[in-house]
Symmetry: C2
Subunit: 315 residues, 2 copies
């Protein structure tokens, strides 16, 4: 495997992080960069919270809560209980140990560090070897326009549990943001062998990255096959509001919609074996995309890389 070259994955939180974990078992650490959505980032209690970055850090360091796919394992909630006792806001759960990420991040941002540097230091501290790269060091908050008004992402996603009907998504300030030098370098690596769009929600996790012009350009011009994994299985999302959002946005809940959405950026879309009948486009192939065990994650990672190898004529 080590002869293949470098691999870049783009992901959001839970589902995407699972495939990133699989890739980390298959790709040599120095050859793997995981570009992570920061559109969900927000301030809570004045603390800088970066949910997808933290989910990737927790997942790749073996610290993620396996029951939820986000937050830390063996977490305690004494802070939140005390916040509730004081009449503070309890709609966004912050575990006692999870809080440390936000607190240290906040202190380092105030001291002038870039999110990329802070994330790299966290990855080192947690024993993670692949590069975990925020898509940008800029603040590009996703805003959800709904039938209940314009909502900051976390208010929609966590506070209102995605109940409002989505009309449009806006990736605020993304058009003025730059990908980081580290992201550009990863996508421009001379030995780049594969780009993988993880099975994350396209609208909430991948699009906020694609909305950064320089990142989209780097993806579009990258000299390696781009493999996307469909986040739909049997016309539904494994987790999260994707299916509901597709309905609300007027899109059929099919992998064809996903492929059309990514358009020319993607060379191949992997669908779950259960959806084999949907694979009518030459740019579609079938794999076991439902990841329950670590072996599932590793197998899907291998399937993505094998597909890229085939497209690149390496296999």
């Amino acid at each position: 495997m080590s002869g293949r070259g470098s691999v870049v994955a783009l992901c959001g939180g839970i589902g995407g992080a699972k495939l990133a974990l699989g890739l980390s078992h298959v790709v040599p650490a120095k050859k793997l960069s995981i570009i992570v959505n920061v559109g969900d980032d927000f301030r809570h209690f004045g603390l800088a919270v970066s949910p997808d970055v933290d989910t990737v850090l927790y997942t790749l360091s073996g610290r993620v809560n396996p029951a939820t796919g986000w937050g830390r394992n063996e977490e305690t909630w004494r802070f939140m209980e005390a916040v509730g006792e004081l009449g503070g806001e309890t709609w966004f759960n912050l575990g006692d140990t999870d809080l440390a990420m936000h607190a240290v991040r906040t202190a380092r941002l105030a001291a002038g560090a870039r999110p990329t540097e802070i994330t790299a230091a966290f990855a080192r501290a947690l024993g993670i070897a692949p590069a975990i790269l925020p898509a940008t060091d800029a603040h590009v908050p996703t805003v959800v326009e709904t039938d209940e008004g314009v909502l900051p992402f976390q208010r929609y996603f966590v506070g209102l549990r995605c109940a409002p009907v989505v009309r449009t998504l806006r990736y605020h300030a993304a058009d003025e943001a730059e990908p980081t030098p580290e992201v550009k370098a990863a996508l421009n690596a001379p030995d780049l062998a594969a780009i993988i769009l993880c099975p994350s929600n396209p609208y909430l996790s991948i699009d906020p990255m694609l909305a950064i012009p320089g990142l989209r350009y780097a993806l579009a011009t990258a000299k390696a096959p781009t493999i996307a994994v469909s986040p739909l299985v049997g016309g539904d999302a494994v987790k999260g509001p994707l299916a509901k959002m597709m309905d609300e946005l007027g899109h059929a809940r099919t992998s064809a919609t996903i492929l059309a959405h990514y358009g020319d950026l993607v060379d191949l879309l992997l669908l779950d074996e259960r959806d084999a009948a949907e694979a009518t486009d030459p740019r579609m192939a079938v794999a076991k995309t439902m990841m329950v065990t670590l072996e599932d994650r590793i197998a899907l990672a291998r399937a993505c890389l094998a597909a890229a190898d085939r497209l690149a004529g390496r296999a």
Copy 2:
């Protein structure tokens, strides 16, 4: 007792909070205002920390850690452990439940609330009936000039454990600060019966309040006896760096120094019974100032009020 009138106490953290607790057992809640030092306040991890206010809130609500006199009882430290794991700053301990105070305070400050309003809401939430009043809503950070340079208060006090030799104390911005309307109203109450300067460190806890011109003026012109309790017992402080600081500042470690320091603001200084031989000034009297049990706290509160009654000719 309820016929006496209203009582105002001024205090810092641990020792002062103990007498404030005693007073809360003796003075009807509606007649008791506790004015608290905010010179120790600072931001840590971006969170607004107000150590003396929190110590008073924890002490009066029965939540204080009895072993330390600060922080919360039955506290856990998983946040701090996780901060350490990430390589963050661990010199200032923030317990998992204590963190809630700072987080909710930070959010409410950002929403435009005054520290006084926030403290009142915390007191209500914690079941505290007397008024807990920050001396000012302004930021008046104490700065310690030492032989190791000019240090922010918490860096000196907690970070360096008071090791540097103190040359001067500065109460930054205090001369431009105003006492709150609530503090002024308490000190100007028509039925004011006693003002009590708790046995807090004069330089670190009481002077930052006296450095606010409007507060000092209100104290100086208040129409009630002012009783101070000496923080020295046997020429030493019960807790904290007071004795060391008095040496460094060139002051004899005697209650006479304390009385001279407060000057005309104080009508009577209560010394511990062990220091009876020091009570050579007509403005000195003896009481049991060492507070070990709740009964000690209550007894000292009664002694303060009785002294004020005598001075006012009420007894």
